[in-house]
């Protein structure tokens, strides 16, 4: 196998491919990327057997063939090389890498490509959806997933489809984020799935946020492709909690606050918030909210910002990061904090309403 290509066109793809390889065992075939060249095209494949990636770029093929190399070192070498045409050639069990006009020589041990696992392919039809919409749905939910491996069924975003609507939900058992987006198209029917968080970040990393993305969903795998890139991930098996049950039906108290002012206040108050529980207090009164940290060994922080509120005075306690993350991605100028009483669920909604909102379970006040 021998081919020549500009460094940057290959580098871009290997950066992405690395995330699909296994980083655990350096001696394993699944830590390698597969390179296969024919007809002036290079196909790159990577998989850790849960997720997989393939892409094709233009190269100048001198001798057809295929091999695999350790992705991590391969990427390191590419990054370090000058930005020019590079010659890649496999001789024996080594891939020789050197820029056309410099005396820089690398060789990497290869593992034969016939040991490389077969990538999955979809048996179901693909449907298109706008990248912008899909990525926005991911942004509105992904921060709420749980990274507690003992609750693996919450380690991803729940996706369900109803005619022209796609719903995404994520929760860690203490807060929940939900977006229900209606499209001007209908989707092929599929049962609700749980998509691993890692795959959603990889989609965003590979995509541009413009144009369409093609998706296909089978019982156990989600496939996606844009341009020449194709990626997939096995889905999380398990029962996602019945989230509808915890969406509060009635929340008579609504406090409207400026998003920017709240963000800034949270940033300042959080300086003195205790690291473990991250508890802040919101004292809501007619016309203003007091955001304060707990009195600690270091001291205390307090800030008062205006709000629109006419209900009874109330004190809420919550993990400040549960408020920070949804506000960071919320569009518009104002948001509503909706609640019934101090120890019940709090909803965080953009004002005026949009197709997403967040639920936060407060902390007990002692």
């Amino acid at each position: 196998m021998k081919f020549v290509c500009p460094k940057n066109s290959l580098l871009k793809e290997i950066v992405l491919a690395l995330d699909f390889t296994s980083q655990r065992n350096t001696l394993s075939i699944v830590s390698n990327v597969l390179l296969e060249t024919s007809d002036n095209q290079l196909t790159i494949k990577a998989t850790d057997q849960k997720i997989g990636f393939t892409t094709t770029i233009e190269v100048e093929t001198i001798e057809e063939g295929s091999t695999t190399v350790f992705a991590d070192k391969f990427l390191g070498i590419l990054r370090a090389l000058p930005d020019e045409h590079i010659i890649f050639e496999e001789i024996g069990e080594k891939l020789f890498i050197h820029p056309q006009n410099k005396s820089i020589d690398f060789s990497l041990r290869t593992i034969s490509s016939d040991k490389f696992p077969e990538l999955e392919s979809s048996s179901k039809e693909f449907f298109s959806v706008s990248q912008k919409d899909l990525f926005e749905m991911i942004d509105q939910t992904i921060f709420a997933i749980s990274d507690d491996e003992t609750r693996y069924f919450m380690n991803g975003v729940y996706l369900e489809q109803q005619n022209m609507t796609l719903n995404m939900v994520a929760t860690d058992g203490r807060r929940l984020s939900l977006i229900e987006r209606t499209f001007e198209q209908s989707f092929p029917e599929f049962a609700p799935i749980i998509i691993p968080a890692k795959f959603l970040s990889l989609l965003k990393k590979g995509g541009t946020g413009e144009g369409e993305i093609s998706i296909s969903i089978t019982d156990s795998i989600i496939f996606a492709s844009f341009g020449s890139q194709f990626m997939y991930s096995t889905l999380i098996k398990g029962q996602f909690p019945n989230y509808r049950r915890v969406i509060p039906a009635k929340q008579p108290n609504i406090c409207t606050i400026d998003i920017k002012k709240m963000n800034e206040a949270l940033k300042r108050v959080s300086l003195l918030v205790e690291n473990k529980a991250k508890r802040i207090y919101l004292d809501i009164e007619d016309g203003f909210v007091t955001i304060s940290s707990e009195e600690s060994d270091f001291g205390q922080a307090k800030e008062i910002i205006p709000c629109t509120y006419s209900g009874p005075s109330v004190r809420l306690a919550m993990n400040y990061s549960y408020l920070v993350s949804p506000l960071r991605v919320m569009a518009g100028n104002e948001f509503d904090l909706c609640f019934s009483e101090a120890n019940k669920a709090v909803s965080v909604k953009p004002n005026p309403e949009k197709d997403y909102f967040h639920i936060i379970m407060p902390m007990q006040i002692d």
């Binding site: 507690d148 058992g173 203490r174 807060r175 902390m363």
Partner: protein, 391 residues
Amino acid sequence: MENVWFHVDMDAFYASVEQLDHKELRGKPVIVGGHSNRGVVAACSYEARDFGVHSAMPIFMAKRLCPQALYVTPRMNRYSEVSRNIISILKTFSPHVQQISIDEAFLDMSGTRRLFGIPRECGAALKKKVYDETGLIISVGIGSSKLIAKLASDYDKPNGLCRVSKNREIDFIDSIALKKIPGIGRIMLVQLEKYGIDSPGKLRTYTLDHLQRLFGETSGDFLYNVCRGSDPGMYAEESKSRSISNETTFESDTFDIAVIRSYLLSLSHQVAYRMIEQKVHSFTVAVKLRLDDFSLVSGQLTTESPFLSAEEIYHAAKSLVDTKWDRKRAVRLVGVGLNNVQDGEYSPQQTLFEDPLYSKKRAVEKVVSSLITEGKPLQKATSMSVRKKQG
């Protein structure tokens, strides 16, 4: 104001409680520990110590040294009860009592001279009151720091009362063998020996810098301070992280995962009961396995929601053992623990989806825990023998 610390050590505690409760054991060598030959001596009476038996010695060795000793199975509930009584007596002498184990405590007696008299008299009064009310003998060490107090109680045991005055501290330290100093273990002793350091006096000839270069920053600092009688803060009260753990040594080393799991389950319950009794919660479960070659395998799992029931602790412990133990060596001992224990029965963070099964189990465990605290005899249903129905 002069700092005055008392260190109270309950002499041969478990054995003394047994002798107190059982007249026939008095004046005889008593060894508290499991009956099995693989167990270790948990405590032994002074009569047994005369034969060379000491705590933490394997039972089979104790039997060899002192075959006539009377072996008693530990009754931890009873010892805890007696310990609580003694601690409550100590609290009538000082508002600041720091219990460091079931049979040891520090009392901050600074500024109590007008109330209780000079330290020595006060120490004697304390010993008398404990004896009058419980029938047990304690040793009291008195010093200007916890370190000195602790060394002093050890110096004059059993039934000791030893005060080291401020100006005699260095002489006192010099009269103590290095291995008796808490914090200097077997491994450090060997290292010290390598440099020819065999007494606190020799240790003092080294500069802090030199000790830190030889033993590392923390140990160097510790050694530098301890040989000068200044407390290196060993018994500092704000322990950075608390933990609760229980462990068991098997009758014989095992490869049997079913046996290991059944012990994990019972240890998980013991840990959960202690957690419930102490009104704390934790997000981290830890397991420990000692293998047949004495190597240690350990692991811990931290989750986002606290472990509130034995069941949850067991599941985490089981999965830790499944991933950490490669089954190449037999297991000798298992331990289950909770790390980073935090105050409060529950975490203040409320949850969206309460698992009703776990809340029920926790309610049951709370009842069981309170029964155990009251000392009620309990038997697990699974351990009851079932008679097969005839016919």
